[in-house]
């Protein structure tokens, strides 16, 4: 028979400590089919055809692509459900049947640039790396040969409506019904943080993993700034955030829910949500047990008599769970010759230490001096237990540095490395070189100890936001933190210089040579001064008379 497919949509709203509000959309399509078999899949229902063809043509096992505008401020907003670095990030695991991974990677980036209207075709060998430990597959499969993994970021890539439009067209209901009607670009891009992503991976359908299906998750995270709409009150509604209200669920969805995080105040004293709902749900997410009010859009009663749902959220103040892990990065030094990259990793747990994997991918034009790499915690040297370093090659590949560092409890760990800036060829500069050159974010992946016991049964019915990262053990949860991207200035030539030089040289030559030539070749003649008026008239009369002039 026809392979089963299923679509679920979900929106989680979390008011933040600073007064901003965080909304996270997730749209998941599950399809029990096999793209890798010989016969091509031809009948697509909920799963978008463009992505299905990409999976089968390029033998993709996992694909993760994200487009982000803004930087996630961990200390003010806590942890996101799905982290992403500023700009565009793409990492792909290929099947082990692929023979030429680099060629397939190049073609895949070109096809994706057409699908998402982004300049992903700028991904080439100079910004692609093969991490050995940081990006393990998030779906099923035992292949861990990192020859089939490719990772690249484009920190300069902008996100705008032209990227949102094709992203919305991949959804089964488009932007016409369900939660996707809220996705209006004028509101989404007028925010502190906007990130949209597509994640494709194979997952198990049941506990024993007898059947597998392909999972497509489209996620959109946005943080709306308190002060943008003009008022300072801690009051938000769906209409204020998205300029729309909801009228129906997507008819093709088996589940369509809205979760509002009311953990800090289940009694409703500090916090007020209207219309009220009696549906509550608890979930273990990011190492914490959170309570949510649930609105089920597949029930007609949710929309009330006015047939439209506009959630209103009001709160007075809010505590925030201090994030256990966060990181910063900056460039130190002066001048345009050398510099130093400092990465700071903070472990805020009072008594537990845990290891983190730091991944750094630095472009070839910043020549790292790895012998100057130092890792210090609390003033003392902290030797990493695993280092994987691949040196760069000019114009071919970037630096790759991966380290496993143990962070002591309640401490700051500082990683520093010195570099030298290269001089590029004049054709390699962008049209606006004085803007600077970007270095992609560092990635810090870690299993962070958790306060509550996490749920390891991945196939139980869980809300989508808590089931993204697979959970292998109860006492910790997986977390990924991205640092800021760096903007460094390279020594930039003055591009107007050739024109100025030509003008100056020609002027000097013309004035100098011309003067010399005149001096050498000019001959001087003595000339009589011209006579006065009376004499001239007398000369004319004399000439008429035929007499020699005066």
């Amino acid at each position: 028979g026809c392979p089963k497919d299923d679509f679920q949509e979900e929106l989680v709203i979390r008011p933040l400590h600073s007064g901003d509000i965080y909304a996270s959309f997730q749209f998941r399509t599950l399809w029990e089919t096999d793209f890798m078999r010989g016969n091509k899949v031809s009948h697509y229902r909920l799963f978008p055809k463009s992505l299905g063809q990409v999976i089968s043509k390029f033998s993709v096992r996992e694909l993760h692509i994200s487009f982000t505008q803004g930087y996630w401020r961990t200390m003010q907003w806590g942890q996101p459900f799905l982290p992403s670095p500023p700009g565009a990030e793409l990492w792909v695991w290929f099947q082990d049947s692929v023979t030429d991974v680099d060629g397939t990677w190049k073609e895949l980036t070109n096809v994706l640039s057409g699908i998402f209207c982004a300049s992903l075709n700028f991904i080439d060998s100079t910004n692609t790396v093969q991490p050995s430990a940081s990006f393990k597959p998030l779906g099923i499969g035992n292949v861990t040969d990192h020859r089939f993994l490719r990772y690249a970021t484009l920190p300069r890539e902008i996100v705008c409506t032209e990227n949102l439009t094709p992203w919305k067209k991949l959804l089964p209901c488009g932007s016409k019904a369900g939660l996707a009607v809220l996705l209006k670009s004028e509101k989404l891009f007028h925010s502190s943080f906007h990130s949209q992503a597509v994640h494709i991976r194979p997952v198990c359908q049941d506990w024993q993993c007898k059947t597998t299906s392909w999972e497509l998750r489209q996620t959109l995270n946005v943080v709306f700034d308190l002060h943008t709409p003009g008022q300072g009150k801690l009051e938000w509604s769906l209409f204020k955030m998205f300029s729309r209200t909801l009228t129906e669920a997507c008819p093709l969805a088996s589940s369509s829910k809205i979760y509002i995080d009311i953990t800090d105040d289940p009694q409703g004293e500090q916090f007020e949500v209207s219309p009220a709902t009696h549906l509550l749900s608890q979930a273990m997410v990011l190492g914490d047990r959170r309570t949510f009010s649930v609105y089920d859009l597949t029930q007609q009663i949710t929309f009330g008599t006015v047939r439209s749902l506009n959630l209103l959220i009001r709160w007075k103040s809010r505590d925030m769970l201090r994030p256990l892990l966060h990181a910063e990065r900056y460039v130190a030094g002066y001048g345009l010759q050398t510099g130093e990259i400092h990465t700071l990793m903070y472990n805020n747990h009072p008594y537990r230490s845990f290891p983190v994997l730091l991944l750094d991918s630095v472009p070839w034009y910043l020549r790292l001096y790895i012998h100057t790499l130092t890792v210090t915690s609390k003033g003392k040297d902290n030797k990493p237990s695993y280092i994987h370093y691949q040196p760069s090659k000019d114009r071919v590949r970037p630096h790759l540095l991966e380290m496993l560092v143990q962070l002591p409890p309640n401490s700051v760990t500082e990683v520093t490395v010195q570099f030298e800036r290269a001089l590029l060829k004049w054709t390699e500069y962008t049209p606006d070189p004085n803007h600077g050159f970007y270095v992609g974010s560092s990635v810090i992946s870690s299993l962070v100890p958790s306060i509550v016991a996490m749920d390891t049964n991945s196939t139980r019915e869980q809300p989508l936001f808590s089931s993204f990262f697979p959970c292998k053990e109860e006492s910790s949860y997986f977390m990924r933190v991205y640092t800021e991207p760096l903007l460094v200035n390279l020594p930039t030539p003055d591009f107007s210089m050739p024109y100025n030089v030509i003008c100056l040289t020609c002027t000097v030559v013309a004035v100098g040579y011309g003067s010399l030539y005149n001096l050498l070749t000019r001959s001087f003649q003595i000339e009589e001064p011209s006579p006065g008026l009376a004499k001239r008239i007398a000369n004319i009369i004399r000439k008429m008379r035929g007499v020699p002039p005066l």
Binding site: G114, C117, S119, I158, V159, T165, K184, S185, H190, D432
Partner: protein
């Protein structure tokens, strides 16, 4: 008696009227079939390019997006439009209203909209990519949305805007395309049969110099100013802080807003857009390479994607040559399917 005579008379007149009407309508059907084959194009493409970078060149992006908007409204789908924007104005951090690009002050018309697909953006807009798109010589892994897949029955609209001079157009403040290169690219397109008719519109300073060197047939060109003249911008918006549109494209947009898919306005009306009193510069045009009379070329032949559909219950004999409206004869080898809908 009289009544019966009246009845027969009435019937006779009715019959004769019907006969003449039928013969007249059959003549109309032949004429319509002739008109059907008069314009040689079957599909429409548009290549819209903004070549300027930096925030103060906001107006060039607004120019291109307003032509994009008109072209989409008149029926050309995104798959047939190649849109190249050299910089991002809508989500630029200096834009006080993100995800919008306005063409009128007081923020009346958002030409960026909610459903826009930009094919080449940012650093991808280079002279090389532009010429490759025109001539079709792209690397094999280029996706379809970035290709100009036109054939010999395509009418193409090409719109360029940016900073230009006498004989060149500047791309991203770092390289130029000359009028000779452009003319050669169009000749390549003609040799490869990549267009049926081509309309070239350019809105830059000294724009007329860019079409001086064309030499391929079936090209019509319009420019916003003559050689030696500057094209001027229209009006600044004090909230956004930059000039929003150029004058020529502003009045072109106003003109196009009145055009709908069934409009019969022709190219002579387009030549009258933005006279010197409104534009300050003198717009120019060139039609000597165009084989048809410009008066017979409709605006929607280039700006819209109008499918010629005529529903008829009659049968027309297409094996005999059909007299076309302008006198030439076409070989009717295709059949008009009855009842076809768009």
């Amino acid at each position: 008696f009289l009544g019966e005579q009246c009845c027969t008379m009435k019937i006779l007149t009715l019959l004769s009227l019907l006969a003449t009407h039928l013969s007249a309508s059959s003549v109309n059907i032949e004429e319509n079939a002739g008109q059907f084959f008069s314009s040689g194009h079957t599909n429409n493409w548009a290549v819209l390019v903004c070549t300027s970078r930096f925030w103060f060149n906001y107006r060039h992006v607004a120019n291109t997006l307003s032509v994009y908007r008109s072209v989409k409204r008149l029926g050309i789908p995104d798959s047939h439009i190649v849109l190249m924007l050299a910089d991002d104005m809508a989500c630029n951090h200096r834009n006080p209203k993100p995800a919008t690009v306005f063409s009128h002050k007081n923020m009346e018309l958002n030409v960026y909209g909610d459903d826009v697909e930009v094919d080449y953006r940012g650093y991808e807009v280079t002279v090389e990519n532009f010429l490759r798109v025109l001539t079709g010589r792209l690397p094999p892994s280029t996706p379809r949305s970035k290709r100009l897949l036109s054939d010999d029955r395509s009418n193409i609209l090409i719109y360029l805007t940016g900073h230009g001079g006498n004989g060149f157009l500047k791309f991203q403040d770092s390289e130029e395309i000359s009028n000779v290169e452009l003319a050669d690219a169009f000749e390549q397109m003609w040799q490869k049969r990549r267009y049926n008719e081509l309309l070239f519109i350019i809105d830059t300073c000294q724009g007329a110099s860019m079409y001086e060197r064309f030499y391929s047939p079936n090209l019509m060109a319009l420019a916003s100013s003559q050689v030696g003249e500057d094209s001027l911008s229209h009006q600044p918006d004090l909230a956004i802080g930059v000039h929003l549109m150029d004058r020529y494209t502003f009045y072109l947009l106003e003109f196009l807003e009145d055009i709908h898919p069934s409009s019969k306005a022709n190219m002579n009306d387009l030549f009258k857009v933005c006279p010197k009193s409104q534009c300050v510069s003198t717009p120019g045009h060139r039609t000597d390479l165009f084989l048809r009379d410009p008066g017979s070329a409709l605006i929607t032949d280039f700006f819209g994607s109008v499918r010629k559909v005529e529903i008829t219950m009659e049968t027309i004999n297409l094996t005999e040559p059909i007299q076309q409206v302008d006198g030439s004869v076409s070989d009717g080898s295709s059949v008009v399917p009855p009842g076809v809908h768009r």
